[in-house]
């Protein structure tokens, strides 16, 4: 495992762990998702730099575009949650449990 490989996989794993176990605010969950997507961006761009795969060089941009869409959808949901529940605490999202 090269240092590059280790760094982006540990960044992704840290983001995933944060998303899974640090469940207080919706905003921090969205930030963890964004961190995961950015580590994936670094992984993809370093992959096509290292292998000199010019065919693949549009892929990190596509990933970035999609992750921007995802982040904006997440922020819109954050606003919607703040308007309906009055807070962005994840433990307040408990209307549907029974």
């Amino acid at each position: 495992m090269t240092p590059v490989h280790f760094s982006f996989s540990s960044a992704f794993t840290l983001g995933l762990m944060g998303l899974a176990f640090h469940r207080t605010h919706l905003l921090s969950a969205l930030l963890c998702l964004e961190g995961m997507m950015l580590s994936l961006y670094i992984a993809l761009s370093l992959w096509c730099l290292q292998l000199e795969a010019t065919m693949f060089s549009a892929a990190p941009m596509l990933l970035l575009a999609f992750s921007a869409c995802e982040a904006s959808a997440g922020l819109a949901l954050l606003v919607a949650t703040a308007r309906t529940h009055g807070t962005d605490h994840l433990q307040n999202l408990n209307l549907l449990q029974c």
């Binding site: 995961m36 992984a43 949901l77 549907l96």
Partner: protein
């Protein structure tokens, strides 16, 4: 909702699934899944009440996490093996991560907790889309990687889903949650046979989609979301109530109906593969599911509502809802078992 926006969203739903079907590259498959998620989120959140917003938030978080995990695993596979092909994924860590991520996407048992809550917060139409159309794209990927995944992991996921789907539905009174648990149990049946005969997975998925469409469409016609409102259905729509009872028994998998066919073929294949214990556990878990289907049948058709109205059916307006899709799916739900040989040759 604005008709232009609605058209765009529905076309995007179609585009996402088609993109995932047509791609052999992991990045394109991931883009298809993301388009699918992005397209259904406005449809889920279009009613502005708190339950819809909460369900949308939960759905968004799980699906975004699962999609990121899929792309991470395929990137790891590309770094170690140098290959982006979907059916060539071979690194064991990558295949396990992809299988778990796809299980999270469709709601298999250890990762199923979002599914009943999300389905409970949606309208019946969106719930229909969520439990039928949204399953197709992940299943296309699961079928393509099925030869490279860990068999023990698939068996664990399948058995746990069938058991959890049975146990979880026992204490529910909300119909959408019941349908969510029934979905989990059926997905368990699909996953348990995946490593031995992927054609049967596809057959089971098709039949499950038909049966659950019948349930959602008929619940939509009667506008009922709880068991106690189903008890009022008999004086309202007697024919549909009878057919709902038969559809429920078909979902439970009783012999003269369609739902028996996939269970029969799967149990036969498991026995052929010399796995009698797995087959027994799956058959017993079907009994748990059958219990709550039978309870629904009991409240729907076998109880009379305690009122003084003794006429067989009261005066009522003719419904203006479109019933053609319900008619087709209800026929398929009830009558496909005699042509089982013709159907097995199709898959």
């Amino acid at each position: 909702m604005n008709p232009y926006v609605l058209t765009t969203l529905i076309l995007s739903l179609g585009l996402g699934t088609t993109l995932t079907f047509a791609s052999s590259h992991w990045l394109l498959a991931w883009m298809g899944l993301e388009i699918n998620t992005m397209a259904i989120i406005p449809l889920m959140a279009q009613q502005h009440h708190p339950r819809a917003t909460e369900a949308t938030t939960k759905y968004f978080l799980t699906q975004a996490t699962a999609a990121a995990m899929i792309l991470f695993a395929s990137t790891m596979n590309a770094w170690t093996m140098g290959d982006w092909n979907i059916n060539q994924i071979s690194h064991p860590l990558a295949t396990t991560t992809v299988t778990l991520a796809l299980a999270l996407k469709i709601g298999l048992a250890p990762m199923h907790f979002w599914l009943p809550e999300v389905l409970q917060g949606l309208s019946l139409t969106t719930g229909l889309v969520l439990s039928t159309w949204q399953k197709l794209a992940p299943f296309a990927l699961i079928l393509q990687i099925s030869q490279n995944t860990n068999p023990a992991l698939l068996t664990t996921l399948g058995v746990m889903s069938a058991l959890v789907g049975g146990w979880g539905g026992l204490n529910q009174t909300q119909l959408r949650k019941l349908l969510a648990y029934s979905s989990i149990a059926h997905l368990g049946w699909m996953i348990i046979i995946l490593q031995f005969m992927p054609a049967l997975t596809l057959l089971n998925l098709t039949i499950y989609i038909t049966m659950t469409s019948t349930m959602f469409l008929s619940l939509k016609i009667m506008a009922s979301t709880k068991i106690n409102s189903l008890a009022l259905a008999w004086p309202k729509t007697p024919t549909l109530t009878t057919l709902i009872m038969l559809s429920l028994l078909s979902l439970g998998g009783l012999p003269p109906l369609t739902g028996f066919m996939p269970k029969w073929l799967i149990l036969q294949e498991l026995t052929k593969q010399d796995l009698p214990i797995t087959a027994t556990i799956m058959a017993m878990s079907a009994l748990l599911s059958l219990f709550f289907y039978l309870r629904l049948c009991y409240t729907t058709t076998l109880t009379t509502f305690p009122n003084t109205n003794n006429t067989t059916s009261p005066w009522r307006l003719k419904s203006t809802q479109i019933t053609l899709p319900l008619t087709i799916t209800i026929i398929l739900t009830l009558m496909l078992l005699p042509i089982t040989p013709a159907i097995t040759t199709m898959f």
